[in-house]
Symmetry: C2
Subunit: 180 residues, 2 copies
């Protein structure tokens, strides 16, 4: 049987720009004690933006932990107290320059359950209208328009590795083409 865990103490180890790291002493139901190290994260949002010809808008950007550029769905971090749909609309406008008539919730993922509180909410955006990209300072990325069917193939063939992108693409494709 799994054991519930309760905090005895909690200490912030590092308060970085992106990473807020904590170290808690905890007690299990059986009285055993242990330490849990984890990141507290405000959560994020990603958007599968699909146009009327069933192209999806992807962004390519350098990801330092992997030392290379990755192709992902547009995404961003929630601001404190921000509504996920509002965040998704903001990121879609900033990164792709698009606004959407409809925003449908696709569910969420917990990327790193063992040591990170991050939750990423996923949306499907349709009815797209395009304007200008407005990137944040220090943000550099390329927008790519790719047929959704091709991106689905790439996910199944292990050619796109970002987790949120894989899930948002599969859920979108299954939603639009009927579930198996």
């Amino acid at each position: 049987m799994y054991q519930k865990e309760k905090a005895l103490t909690s200490e912030q180890i590092f308060d970085g720009v992106v990473v807020k790291l904590y170290r808690d002493e905890i007690e299990l139901e059986n009285g055993e004690r242990a330490v849990r190290e984890y990141i507290r994260h405000p959560g994020g949002v990603c958007v599968a933006a699909v146009d009327d010809d069933e192209n999806i808008y992807m962004v390519e950007q350098f990801r330092y932990p992997f030392g290379k550029a990755l192709t992902e769905v547009p995404a961003g971090k929630l601001e404190f107290g921000e509504d996920p749909e509002q965040c998704g609309r903001r990121e879609l406008k900033e990164e792709v320059g698009a606004v959407a008539d409809s925003f449908e919730y696709l569910g969420c993922i917990y990327p790193t359950v063992a040591y990170d509180t991050e939750i990423i909410h996923m949306f499907l955006a349709r009815g797209l209208h395009f304007g200008e990209q407005h990137l944040d300072d220090g943000e550099f990325l390329d927008v790519k328009k790719i047929p959704l069917k091709e991106v689905y193939r790439m996910v199944m063939a292990n050619e796109l590795n970002d987790a949120k992108t894989q899930m948002a693409v599969l859920k979108t494709y299954l939603k639009l083409h009927g579930e198996v």
Copy 2:
């Protein structure tokens, strides 16, 4: 155009049991400098273990960052230099008590591309033979046998949130039932 980033300095901020945190100063191609905080992780493996009646074996365990128990596919961390399939077979045996005739690679996910080097490799295990569970010290989890079709429905309905579990289940279901 995205900008490549190269390290100027790298400093270890925290050397924990699970979390190894680094802070690097980097330079972009345009000469701008910035800081990147990230976790170095050895990577992991997860296993969709499906029996001849198309049940999948899931594990339920308490996940401290979320303050609740989550239902996931069996998984574990790679040891240094370990072959992913070997790690998957070890975790399946420890957590579920099963060995498998076949182990097929389903691809990998990068759960947290912005600030973590973790890669999770996914496998489909079939031809299962059952023995005893052998958990590590301090590891508590419950094994649940659930029809794959039901777990697929739960993923689509946003009832299972762990990212690796969602991807391993969708890829397994699409593999066994024909892609859309």
